[in-house]
């Protein structure tokens, strides 16, 4: 690889509006990208999903994994020139943990009880229970560090202004069209960022996004679907980007209510799924089969439990056993965004038909879905990014105290396995615990996870240093640079 060149403007296409740049309130990928440019976390994830320093350079814990100490870089500065010290970090986490702020990070940064500034560059986290994955958790997308004055003052000002420590500074922001950032000369790494300027253009239409990349109007498309990927693949001047990932679409059961509180019925349905075909229907082959656990090869501690295959006879038998010898009719709800959700529903409908399960698909607007179905419904389609660790995804969705326990699955044994795995750093021990947890999920099927998707993107060949991230919501554009072949554009 050649050495990075400095300068130039990078144009990035996003498929959704950047509705919010309040770094504690971001909820979707484009917003994560925007705040990633403007702010920093304590830690960040490499494209190999390893934790690396961001504002913090080093960290260590006590043996019980209940007290963690982080060391900050020296001489950190916010965009307005004010120094960034441990006091700012403390204030930030106080804001994140304050329920009134309603930050999505609150449930995702770990079991923090208290955070203190030991000295201007040293922080101490005290946890309520042992937690081995804290450094990874602190890389969470909406746990970005903001100035104490803002965190304790006018948090709302973060909706239109930004004062972070990130590699770029905010120039202009129109939620539905364009956000422009420029290089932060005071960034902690004097070499980075390489780009002078980044423009984030919003293209609500996926076709327009792809066409604009082809025409050279756009340099980088953050995420694209399989069909657009195939269209771009092999085109002159365009590189397609692909990373295997733990991203998935699933079918959630309300395990607390009939009919899906009967594991036989859940299993019967899982047995109707032709996972090979599902990978095709949903990802055009850009994905991998799922085995009804949220963990796949992309995660550490993945356990290759016996793959569940389609077996209509077994499904029919289970169905009869569960008291539905003549089949059952159920309503499956999918929100309209992204389209993948209804694709899964439609395909499942067809596959389950043969076993005598009649599925009526109901698609509804995303807002209504969030309001009325999500975490409340008893049979609906979910969609998740890859999380940094197995613990993160289990704690997010499947433990009884999960932040978003969509299935209301309440399995003390599973809870215990996850809890014990948190409390140790011993790889063998954790492997054993997580393997057991995955086997338990496959057996109990709180949710059908039929396939995982690769993360797909595309760029012009004059963009270098950019790698697509399996997490799906991490971009690391401070590493990207433009080669001499890039068109010159007025800034």
């Amino acid at each position: 690889q050649t050495t990075p060149e400095r300068g130039g403007t990078l144009r990035v296409a996003l498929d959704q509006a950047i509705s919010v740049i309040h770094p504690l309130l971001t909820r979707v990928n484009p917003e994560y990208l925007a705040t990633e440019l403007l702010y920093s976390n304590l830690t960040r994830l490499t494209t190999k999903m390893e934790v690396e320093p961001d504002l913090a350079t080093a960290w260590q814990s006590n043996d019980e994994l209940t007290v963690w100490t982080f060391t900050l870089r020296e001489g950190l500065k916010f965009h307005d020139g004010a120094p960034c010290t441990s006091e700012d970090v403390v204030a930030t986490f106080e804001a994140i943990l304050n329920p009134d702020v309603a930050s999505s990070a609150r449930n995702n940064v770990g079991p923090i009880e208290k955070i203190e500034a030991v000295d201007p560059v040293t922080l101490r986290f005290t946890l309520t229970e042992p937690y081995a994955d804290l450094p990874a958790a602190l890389a969470f997308n909406s746990a970005r560090i903001i100035p104490a004055s803002v965190a304790r003052g006018d948090l709302n000002s973060l909706r239109s202004t930004a004062n972070g420590t990130g590699p770029f500074k905010l120039v202009s922001y129109e939620p539905d069209r364009l956000m422009v950032v420029e290089r932060n000369p005071d960034f902690y790494d004097p070499a980075r960022p390489y780009l002078d300027r980044i423009e984030l253009h919003v293209f609500p239409d996926l076709g327009a996004q792809t066409s604009s990349l082809l025409s050279g109007d756009i340099d980088l498309v953050a995420t694209i679907g399989p069909n657009h990927y195939m269209r771009l693949d092999g085109q002159q001047g365009v590189n397609v980007l692909r990373a295997a990932s733990g991203q998935f679409c699933n079918v959630n059961f309300g395990t607390d209510l009939p009919p899906f509180n009967d594991v036989r019925l859940r299993k019967a349905l899982a047995l109707t799924v032709d996972r090979e075909a599902m990978v095709d229907f949903m990802t055009e082959g850009f994905g991998t089969k799922g085995n009804d656990t949220p963990i796949n090869e992309s995660y550490p501690f993945f356990a290759p439990v016996t793959q569940r295959e389609r077996d209509i006879e077994a499904a029919k038998a289970l169905l009869a056993e569960a008291g539905y010898p003549n089949g059952i009719e159920v309503e499956l709800i999918a929100s309209d965004r992204p389209a993948l959700r209804s694709q899964l529903a439609v395909a499942l409908k067809d596959m389950a038909k043969e076993a005598g399960i009649t599925i009526n698909v109901v698609t509804m607007p995303h807002a209504t879905y969030l309001d009325q179905v999500w975490t409340k419904g008893s049979f609906y389609v979910g969609f998740y990014n890859m999380q940094p660790t197995p613990d993160a995804i289990f704690k997010l969705l499947f433990t009884s105290d999960a932040a978003w326990n969509e299935t209301r699955w309440n399995n003390p044994k599973f809870d215990d396995l996850v809890k014990r795995a948190r409390a140790t750093t011993a790889v063998d021990e954790r492997t054993k615990l997580y393997t057991e947890a995955q086997a338990l999920m496959t057996e109990e099927v709180p949710s059908i996870i039929p396939a995982f998707f690769d993360v797909l993107g595309a760029k012009r060949d004059w963009v270098d240093g950019y790698e697509i991230h399996p997490r799906g919501s991490v971009y690391r554009l401070d590493f990207a640079w433009l080669t001499a072949a890039s068109p010159t554009r007025k800034g």
Binding site: L206, G207, G225, N227, H228, M230, R231, D274, A277, D280, F281, A334, D336, R337, A339, S342, Q343, A345, V346, A347, K349, D350, V361, V362, T363, M364, P365, T368
Partner: protein, 274 residues
Amino acid sequence: MIDFLRRLLRTPQGLLGCLIVGLILIAVLAGRWLTPYGPEDMQSLARYKPPSLAHWLGTDQYGRDILSRLLEGARSTVLMALLATVIGTLGGAILGTGSAYLGGRADELIMRTVDAVMAIPSLLLALLVVSLLGSSSLNALLAIAIAFMPSMARIARAVALTVRKQEYVSAAIARGEGSGYIILREMLPNVIAPIVVEMTIRVSFAVMLFATLSFLGLGAQPPATDWGLMVSEARDFLHRSYWILLWPSAAIALTAIGFNLLGDGLRDALNPRT
């Protein structure tokens, strides 16, 4: 009636319109029995197949037969559009004729309010109504019906006013006829003809509005066989399998053209001057 049909078929628009609309109505009525495949049957081995003998119009991303889906979709799309137009027209016609009959302040108030509602573009009005009721074909139907009412009311009122001024209505009033007889027997038959013309042309708007709502994700929902939804879903595959997009688009356009032509034909046939 026979005479009228002959007049209608004599105009080129009328003839062509009747032909197209006739074909579409056959699809609507008998489509279910004409389909070679189940409209929702997926074949994972026959995805993205171009038109062939086995699949005349090809297959889509799930390996479903497009012809079967189009035939099945005719019912949802065209029937819904027809119903929406009829409901919207009836509502508007009653409002407009009533307003014209009431006259005076009431008329003024009704018509000004109707004008005011017309300041909201019909697509937007439909969007608002759908988001109010939830997105489904049925609600889209209602939304379109509501969106059509103001302009239909305006047209109906204008027609009713001219009819009201006719001497045969004066004659009926002078004769001492009751208002029921005057509205139903003297006015309505004469108001209806121009409204039927307008209604026919509006069916094509409705088809397109319906498709647009589905396109925006606020009309029919997958796996419905709605044409607009089919187009919307197919846009991603345009560069790979253009036919998935082509056929439903063509179906929408053909339907719209058919009803437009038929409407113009009806207008000519009903126009005493030609």
